[in-house]
């Protein structure tokens, strides 16, 4: 069990609500983007950026930093929101998302946005990239770690399993993957489009240490990360059971919000549910 105070957990939960509000505003202002899968991943990303990752916003390319690879690139609103709140760039820049001349591309661009560690958008490439990072850290005998966030839709992609094989082969215990198991992909329920279960058994068979948690329970997230750190000789995958659109009642578990922004009226209601204080 991680030694984290209840006050710290509450602070992280507050932070996650703030990031969810950013996600809704960013996608609303441009009427595009992917709020649903950003909100399902929000608690994991919050835990990483505000309690786990050793990163330095003043020096985003610090060689010894931990790396966060967002494989499900469409969820970049949550990453941008976390980076902005962590100080990598001004929070006001979030409202340039998906607009011409912005550093905040519709899917992450490497080398442009401070703190973004990979390019993603075409699904299923991120875990291999993470394996490459992990191999480099090991080669250099460095202590920095690699975290990779995958969508459950990405479990359809062959390359995800190529990476899983490689992670197993190289016993990459400096690599921790998360699967945002919200059960919904663009066109519907994952179990209808391409059944994935038993998903944990598959990863176990590929040589991974498998942990299954509630991906919206901050303490469970932190405990699982701690357990993954302690586990030697295998990479770990944390299957995080999540809800697409988590945090806003009318968005939760609704396929449409995979790739649809809220209307003006919906935004107001959503922000109120997320505790926005209207001045």
């Amino acid at each position: 069990m991680v030694d984290v105070s209840d006050a710290k957990i509450r602070e992280l939960e507050d932070r996650a609500r703030l990031l969810r509000r950013h996600i809704l505003k960013m996608t609303h202002q441009v009427q595009s983007g992917h709020p649903g899968g950003s909100m399902s991943a929000c608690d994991i990303v919050t835990a990483l950026y505000f309690n786990v990752l050793r990163v330095d916003p003043e020096n985003p390319t610090w060689p010894d930093r931990d790396r966060f690879v967002l494989s499900k690139g469409h969820a970049c609103p949550v990453l941008y929101a976390a980076l902005a709140e962590r100080g990598f760039f001004p929070v006001r820049e979030l409202m340039t998302f998906r607009r011409v001349n912005s550093r905040l591309q519709g899917h992450p661009e490497y080398g442009t946005t401070p703190g973004v560690e990979n390019a993603a958008g075409a699904e299923g490439q991120g875990l291999s990239f993470g394996v490459g990072l992990g191999l480099a850290a090991r080669l250099d005998r460095k202590a920095w770690r690699v975290y990779c966030l995958l969508g459950d839709g990405e479990q359809d992609v062959g390359q995800t399993w190529e990476a899983a094989l490689a992670g197993g082969k190289y016993h990459l215990d400096n690599l921790t993957a998360f699967i945002d198991r919200n059960g919904i992909q663009q066109e519907g329920r994952t179990e209808e489009i391409m059944p994935l279960e038993p998903l944990g058994d598959k990863w176990k068979a590929f040589g991974w240490n498998v942990l299954t948690i509630n991906g919206h329970d901050m303490r469970q997230i932190l405990d699982a990360i701690d357990e993954a750190h302690a586990h030697k000789g295998q990479p770990s995958v944390i299957i995080a059971k999540t809800t697409k659109g988590k945090g806003v009642s009318f968005m939760e578990n609704v396929v449409r919000y995979h790739g649809a922004a809220t209307s003006d009226e919906e935004l107001k209601r959503a922000l109120a549910e997320l505790g926005e204080v209207i001045p």
Binding site: S128, V131, G132, L133, L135, A136, A137, Q159, A166
Partner: protein
């Protein structure tokens, strides 16, 4: 650049690549190699024997190979990703595009078994479209060495070159037309033989065929300039425009489809600078087949005589 004299030695580009990789590995601990179950054939295994912790064989998973190389590069490594061209380029295009070209990471994609000279393995293995694919993607540098010595030079130059590089070479031993003393850098094209009546611009094995063609044309009193375009992208437009102005006709020759390859690159450069009649020697938008590499080159028109015919046609259209 002086061309070595006929008869040319036939030498392996793969061996030359492998030797250069080991030299680079000794000089630079950040040079790593990712392979995909072809490491013995492409000879990166020799690098692996010397530096066991710096060769990663990821099996038949070329997309994985490319992304892993990109990850290694993002952490400060100079990552060679090497396999056969058809697997390394055609099977992986979107992974190269997103993880390598878009990121500008220093991944050096060095692929053997390009073109029709793969031979007996047939059309599934003969990638005649790789130059087209790789020159179409932004941020990519495309190298096509003429022979074994130039392959070694490309390998060395790629390490010093910032960002992604694609280099294609052959399974088959090629005639050695350059010498180890010849200068080489990424960017310039090299005039192998000067001439004033027509320009023969080629890459890869077709440089040797153009040198042969120039000798044939010379016997007929036609002075042909031969240019070795080892860097297809970025193209040395100045050297080619100068050749267009000074010789008034160009034949482009490549062991690759005539669609979007070296010929296409030269045509668009010349069309803007100084349009002249052009002819294109290459695979004519068809798949290959099994057979001996040099018999296939005959059958698919990758010969000195095709270059000669092209030169005569282009000169005739020019009208002098």
């Amino acid at each position: 650049m002086t061309s070595a004299k006929i008869p040319w030695k036939m030498e392996s580009q793969r061996s030359s690549f492998a030797k250069a990789l080991i030299e680079l590995g000794e000089k630079n601990p950040n040079v790593v190699v990712v392979g995909a179950d072809t490491t013995e054939s492409i000879k990166t295994l020799e690098f692996g024997k010397k530096f066991p912790d710096r060769l990663f064989n990821v099996g038949i998973s070329e997309q994985n190979m490319i992304s892993i190389a990109a990850g290694l590069a993002a952490a400060g490594k100079i990552a060679f990703a090497s396999t056969y061209a058809v697997f390394g380029v055609a099977h992986t295009y979107n992974v190269i595009r997103q993880n390598v070209a878009y990121t500008k990471l220093p991944v050096k994609l060095f692929c053997s078994h390009a073109g029709i000279t793969v031979g007996q393995d047939g059309a599934t293995h003969q990638l005649n479209e790789d130059i087209a694919l790789m020159r179409g993607v932004p941020n990519m540098t495309v190298l096509v060495p003429a022979d074994a010595p130039q392959t070694a030079k490309c390998t060395h130059a790629a390490v010093d070159w910032p960002g992604p590089v694609y280099c294609r070479f052959s399974r088959t031993n090629f005639p050695t037309v350059t010498s180890v003393e010849d200068p080489f850098a990424i960017g310039p094209s090299y005039v192998m033989r000067d001439g004033s009546d027509v320009t023969l611009a080629a890459c890869g094995i077709m440089v040797s065929r153009c040198l042969e063609a120039a000798a044939t044309l010379e016997a007929d009193g036609i002075s042909a300039r031969v240019i070795n375009v080892a860097t297809v992208k970025p193209l040395d437009s100045a050297t080619l425009a100068k050749a267009a102005r000074e010789t008034g006709a160009i034949v482009a020759a490549e062991e690759h489809t005539v669609v979007h390859g070296l010929g296409g690159a030269i045509a668009s450069a010349v069309a803007q600078a100084h349009p002249v009649p052009m002819e294109f020697v290459g695979v004519q938008d068809v798949f290959g087949e099994s057979g001996d590499a040099f018999e296939l080159m005959e059958k698919y028109g990758l010969t000195a005589s095709k270059v000669v015919e092209g030169a005569r046609r282009a000169m005739k259209r020019r009208g002098r």
